[in-house]
């Protein structure tokens, strides 16, 4: 809570510094500069997104280039997601031809990425990725929903939810996964046989089959591939009044304690388990699978019985209490650090009646077994996401700090 006032100051700076980055639709060649002066901040916005249907969606722009060339494209409406790792862009939003990643036999590699509400299917391409003044070269990324790979293997569609392969189903032009991990799957996807969870497929013309994909060839969190400011990200957003607001502007800053604008300050470090989770004590229950996810649009926790909050009459996704109800959760990192997190949940049907608003700090719903601190958690906070194996002044990632 004490971090809010400095956050506002930084936001003003962020807006001023990053406007040329985000307003521009073309890129200009840059000469290498010392890391101490690398522009490491770009603006982010919470609005209804490119499909005009999102609430509590955090969006930014990403520039992708054909590796080693100045053939580049800047794409807006990209969802900023601390709950995943790796860049994914709708094939329909790409206008440049990024090279296809191939298996050892030359067959194209196509990915099926599992998310809690569905999956994305599309080929792995390679790009130079530019964010603010940072660049990651030769980054494996996903081109979601490519017509060249229109047939989704049954093993992929069996992984839950529905395909999120179009603007209408993704509600974004892409996802920028800046989460706790260097890659989007890790050792499991590098294994052979039945222990492989089936993210990566080799797709010759005869049909797709699951392959073992080495971590370095998996989708990479572009941040850890930067030359500097590569140990994590800092996200700052202003606080939101009850009842919500139309939109918000904040900042996405690369690096933790690498420059004068991204120090941990008074933030507490909460290390995670190997899966990226910490523990939350809430409504008398201790929940070990808790995470902070800017890509989720509410606080998602427990159920109606445990919270005393009825579901909305027209949707099982959100709570609809008769009036706003306050909760006090205790977060505990793997390192034993604890903090109290206070938040409130109001009636989603009532909130969402404000049709011109896209920002609601009191939106929440049920969750089977996890506590998902979604984007409303970020409002009025400075939140750090430190990447696994990367060194910071607060220790090695993976951790959250706020």
């Amino acid at each position: 809570m004490t971090a809010i006032r400095p956050a506002f100051l930084a936001l003003a700076l962020a807006g001023a510094q990053s406007t040329p980055q985000c307003g521009s639709s073309s890129t200009t060649p840059t000469t290498p500069t010392p890391s101490t002066t690398t522009l490491n901040m770009q603006s982010v916005v919470v609005n209804s997104g490119p499909n005009n249907d999102y609430v509590n969606g955090l969006f930014t722009s990403v520039t992708v280039c054909v590796p080693g060339t100045s053939t580049c494209q800047t794409i807006g409406g990209i969802l900023v997601d601390t709950g995943s790792s790796g860049l994914r862009v709708l094939s329909s939003a790409l206008t440049i031809n990024l090279p296809q990643q191939s298996a050892s036999d030359g067959s194209p590699i196509v990915e099926c990425a599992q998310f809690q509400d569905g999956f994305t299917w599309g080929p792995v391409r390679t790009a130079d990725v530019k964010l603010a003044g940072e660049q990651a070269s030769g980054v494996p990324m996903q081109a979601i929903g490519s017509p060249s790979f229109a047939t989704i293997p049954s093993g992929c569609s069996s992984s839950g939810g529905t395909a999120e392969n179009s603007l209408d189903t993704l509600s974004a032009n892409g996802i920028l996964g800046v989460g706790l991990f260097r890659d989007d799957c890790g050792a499991a996807c590098a294994s052979s046989g039945s222990s492989n969870p089936g993210f990566y497929y080799s797709c010759p013309s005869s049909g797709c089959r699951i392959i073992a994909q080495a971590p370095a060839n998996q989708l990479q969190n572009p941040v850890w591939m930067f030359a500097s400011d590569n140990n994590g990200v800092m996200i700052q957003l202003p606080s939101v009044a009850s009842g919500g607001t139309a939109s918000l502007t904040g900042s996405l800053t690369f690096g933790i304690g690498t420059q004068s604008n991204n120090g941990l300050g008074s933030a507490k470090v909460f290390t995670t388990d190997a899966a990226g989770n910490f523990t939350t004590v809430l409504s008398g229950q201790s929940l070990g699978s808790s995470f902070i996810d800017s890509g989720s649009n509410g606080f998602f926790f427990l159920d109606s019985t445990a919270t005393g909050l009825p579901l909305c009459p027209d949707t099982a996704d959100f709570y609809c209490p008769s009036s706003s109800k306050a909760f006090s959760a205790t977060a505990r990192g793997a390192n034993g650090t604890t903090a109290t997190i206070n938040f409130s949940i109001d009636n989603a049907d009532t909130l969402l009646r404000a049709v011109r608003f896209s920002v609601f700090g009191e939106l929440g719903g049920p969750n089977a077994g996890n506590v998902d601190f979604g984007l409303p958690f970020f409002y009025g906070r400075t939140v750090f996401t430190a990447i696994e194996g990367q060194s910071t002044a607060g220790g090695n990632g993976p951790y959250w700090a706020y």
């Binding site: 809690q116 509400d117 499991a188 046989g193 222990s195 099982a316 998902d372």
Partner: protein
């Protein structure tokens, strides 16, 4: 009531026949399929526990995800839960209910207003999925098949 259960069992068996790479028994199917199926799924039976109102078969899938199948005294799988690093094969776990689940998931997308956990309730099947890569959890149940006296928080 018996007739309905029997039809569901037949539907589940048909689903098995269609998907030979079985991962586990199906929702609405009968308990006798669980054991034969475990052999095929290259998983390990962790334990079988019994209460007065149901039996739980807990299986560890080859990808490390724990799957619990809740079986009624009449031998019907009325709920399935999972927790672990990766999503289980829901087509297999939900059996005859899978297509219905996918339709309901697609229909609920508009009201979600973005991304987050999945909460599907179409009046016949209830499915919740939450988490992220490396840590997923979920529950699927058919309330109509849940034996009387089983509390909602007993299925997790």
């Amino acid at each position: 009531m018996r007739g309905r259960v029997h039809r569901l069992t037949v539907a589940a068996l048909v689903a098995f026949a269609c998907f030979p790479r079985a991962a586990s028994a199906t929702l609405g199917g009968d308990a006798s399929s669980i054991d034969a199926d475990r052999v095929r799924m290259q998983g390990a039976l962790l334990r079988i526990s019994r209460t007065d109102t149901f039996t739980v078969h807990e299986i560890q899938s080859a990808t490390g995800t724990a799957i619990r199948q809740y079986v009624s005294p009449s031998g019907t799988v009325f709920a399935v839960t999972w927790q672990g690093p990766w999503m289980p094969d829901l087509r297999q776990l939900l059996g005859a209910y899978f297509d219905r689940f996918q339709r309901a998931a697609a229909a609920s997308r508009r009201s979600r207003r973005g991304h987050g956990p999945l909460n599907v309730d179409d009046g016949e099947i209830v499915v919740q999925v939450g988490g992220h890569a490396r840590a997923f959890a979920g529950v699927a149940k058919v309330p109509r098949l849940v034996p009387a006296g089983v509390r909602a928080d007993a299925i997790r």
